[in-house]
Point group: C2
Chain length 178, copies 2
């Protein structure tokens, strides 16, 4: 299970609450990991019980209170063990491709509409990632090294989205020509 390791990784970099993690996944690390708030809160509870992380209650004014989690030594060790092991190549399960494969059953318009909807979402993600890339590139040369690895993960997001959009253009061109 890697949600555990994704959380350990993020908390090792910077402590935070479940809500913080949710926002980091949603706003910045969508190319990297996605998890619902239900998954995150439950996982934090379990990891806390296993002793991988600990939390302090933080009282806030004007906002609900937070539980701020940080990684314990045991958690750090778990992360180190995991990182020295090997991870599986990502399993691909792409429902959009299934639909296209079966596309002869419907009008091209149905497929075009679906592709368009997905294109909008992917374009928005790419824009987000490109903006983050600009943030990195405008850093001083002294600051860059510490963000180099996260930047490389961002590059994966950018290259992935660009490939998706290139593909969508091929599909569009074909479907419109029908």
């Amino acid at each position: 299970m890697s949600l555990k390791h994704a959380i350990l990784t993020l908390l090792e970099t910077e402590e935070g609450s479940g809500y913080d993690l949710l926002k980091r996944f949603k706003d910045r690390l969508g190319f990297f990991w996605n998890a619902s708030h239900q998954q995150i809160y439950l996982q934090l509870k379990k990891m806390s019980e296993e002793g991988l992380i600990e939390f302090e209650h933080e009282t806030q004014k004007g906002k609900p209170n937070r539980k701020v989690y940080h990684v314990t030594d045991q958690g750090k060790q778990t992360l180190m063990d995991w990182i020295h092991g090997s991870v599986k190549v990502d399993k691909v399960n792409d429902a959009m491709l299934v639909k296209l494969y079966a596309g002869h059953l419907v009008n091209p318009e149905v497929l075009l509409a679906e592709i368009q909807k997905h294109t909008d979402i992917h374009q928005r993600m790419l824009n987000t990632f490109l903006a983050l890339e600009q943030d990195y590139l405008s850093l001083d040369d002294q600051e860059k090294p510490q963000y180099a690895l996260p930047y490389l993960t961002l590059r994966k997001g950018i290259l992935g989205e660009q490939a998706w959009l290139t593909w969508a253009q091929e599909v569009n061109a074909y479907l419109k020509q029908l």
Copy 2:
């Protein structure tokens, strides 16, 4: 649940056994869908109970007997309903990126070895896809139209793998220069 729809799509194109589906996923449609034999056999059983598919026992000599499944009218209808609806954009959960994000905790060699291992696998997949593309491109112009949509899904696999390998080169260049 989309394994159901992936199976309906494949069986609608051509009837087959659980083992056939497993091989189609593994050898040809890995860019498209992946499922274990346990998942497939269980799903076939469920779909059979729901009336979406039916099977005939096929006795073989020299090999174990097979159950050859085909889609029923009800199954076809279920597929049509699904294809007219909309699918969610794929959820990304990439353990390799998590590892790279946390890469400051280990020697670059650890990351390089992992990247290399994944590169080999992705390169092999790309080669498979490119060979399939050649098969399509060498078809007569009269035959191409009926495979056009599957070909577009193949293009997704090719563009995706190429993007992955391009990214891996960036990562390699960075890690080696450390």
